[in-house]
């Protein structure tokens, strides 16, 4: 039996369908994979790429900038107020943001720029670059 996966943002359902596996990253930084029959689970998500392996079709990478995951009865719900599908990601802009963040990090380190860099990296990873 497959997992019923939903990626939900406050404004709409970003992605939903059946999948064999969902791989994501929780706040602590640990990666966690959900397969068929996973025990009920609630977690807070960090910034990272959540990979969904649909029962048919190619892997989907979703850039998730914080959110939550709930798993029960083979249903996986990913709630995020900032999640992006690869086709929505502006690769050129993300690359530009990465270059800009890297340049300013060479001079001084601050949390905001580091977060910006991480976001850009996650976007590019999800977009497959």
């Amino acid at each position: 039996m497959a997992l019923a996966v939903q990626v939900v943002s406050p404004e709409r359902i970003l992605w939903s369908g059946d999948a064999d596996m969902v791989l994501t990253r929780t706040v602590g930084g640990g990666e966690i994979a959900f397969l068929d029959g996973h025990a009920p689970f609630v977690g807070a998500l960090g910034i990272g790429v959540t990979r969904i392996r649909p029962t048919d079709g190619a892997d989907v990478g979703v850039a998730v900038h914080g959110g939550f995951v709930e798993v029960s009865d083979n249903q996986v719900s990913i709630l995020s107020d900032a999640a992006e599908l690869p086709e929505e990601i502006d690769v050129a802009r993300a690359e530009e943001a990465r270059t800009r963040a890297e340049a300013s990090l060479r001079d001084e380190h601050d949390a905001e720029t580091e977060a910006a860099l991480r976001r850009a990296n996650v976007r590019l990873e999800a977009a497959g670059r």
Partner: protein, 320 residues
């Protein structure tokens, strides 16, 4: 003279006609926006349902005893009222209803001896309360007819921050609930502290969840999102209500305009006919007088009308 009256009426009919064009256009725009707004309400539902579900699970696992957003204060000294109105008028009683509900809520708190604070959403609500000398703690404008999640977040952050700091002990939210296309009602409800999600007995022992990190920490991250989602839902509902109210108001305005045009056209036609009749009477009277004065034969009248057509007054030109 009667011709002058006709001109005045014609001008009025023109002006009512162009007003009708505007109200008709606004009606159609509002009608199409209601559909879109309702779709957005529906699209936002899965998120808030899921987030409520997660909170329920966390509560079942025993989390949330000490989260500040859930704590009801023992002594409520200051109550903040958040009013969600529209940026634009021409929406019938929409703004009036929500403002009146907000005023009643404020009055009720003052009667209890509590001090009140006011946060407004929408230009109309802001102007109303500012004009009446209310002190406005914070105001948001520019998105009432099409709010985004970012807008909801801005409002929620402003309010929750002051709730957490203790400036407010309670936050009430006044907005218009979209019941159906025909019915919207202004409601006031408690926004903060968040209501402890009721533990669902029907779902049975589902509490054996794994949590990462621990339930309390997840809840601390989740509650602000939940507060935002609730405010977002209220904003979307208010937007749908605003469009519905505007559509109804504009529909009746269009109908009134049509009625007015019919009435005015009738009056104008009568005035024109009166004018024509008067002119004919004048000509006939004049011809008669001439005939009698000259003692000429009967065919003089035919001579005048037949031979001097171009001398007839414009009002006899029946092409208009």
């Amino acid at each position: 003279m009667a011709g002058g009256q006709e001109r005045v009426l014609r001008r009025r009919i023109k002006s009512v006609q162009s007003t009708r064009k505007i109200t008709k256009a606004m009606e159609l725009i509002a009608a199409s926006r209601i559909v879109k707004a309702q779709q957005r309400v529906a699209a936002a539902r899965p998120y808030s349902e899921q987030i409520t579900e997660v909170i329920r699970n966390l509560a079942a696992a025993g989390a949330g005893g000490d989260s500040p957003l859930l704590q009801a204060r023992d002594e409520v000294a200051t109550v903040c009222v958040v009013v969600v109105g529209a940026d634009r008028g021409l929406a019938g009683g929409y703004n009036t209803a929500v403002i009146r509900t907000a005023e009643r809520a404020l009055q009720a708190e003052r009667d209890e001896g509590r001090s009140t604070a006011l946060v407004t959403v929408g230009k109309k609500a802001l102007n109303y309360f500012r004009f009446r000398g209310y002190e406005i703690a914070d105001s948001f404008t520019g998105f009432s007819d099409n709010p985004t999640y970012e807008d909801a977040r801005a409002v929620a952050e402003s309010v929750t921050a002051r709730f957490e700091s203790g400036a407010y002990d309670q936050v009430r939210l006044v907005y218009t609930r979209f019941l159906s296309m025909a019915a919207q009602r202004a409601v006031a409800l408690t926004y903060l502290p968040l209501e402890q999600a009721p533990t669902d007995e029907t779902s049975g022992p589902t509490a054996d969840y794994e949590f990462e990190p621990d339930p309390g920490e997840i809840l601390d991250r989740l509650l602000p999102r939940y507060a935002e989602a609730r405010l977002f839902a209220a904003l979307l509902d208010a937007a749908a209500s605003e469009h519905a109210a505007r559509q109804r108001a504009m529909k009746s305005a269009t109908e009134n305009a049509e009625e007015l045009i019919t009435k005015l056209s009738r009056v104008m036609n009568r005035a024109r006919q009166d004018a024509i009749t008067t002119e004919i009477m004048e000509i006939v009277g004049g011809a008669e007088a001439l005939r009698q004065g000259k003692g000429a034969p009967e065919d003089l009248l035919v001579d005048i009308i037949g031979g001097t057509r171009d001398l007839l007054p414009d009002t006899l030109d029946l092409r208009r």
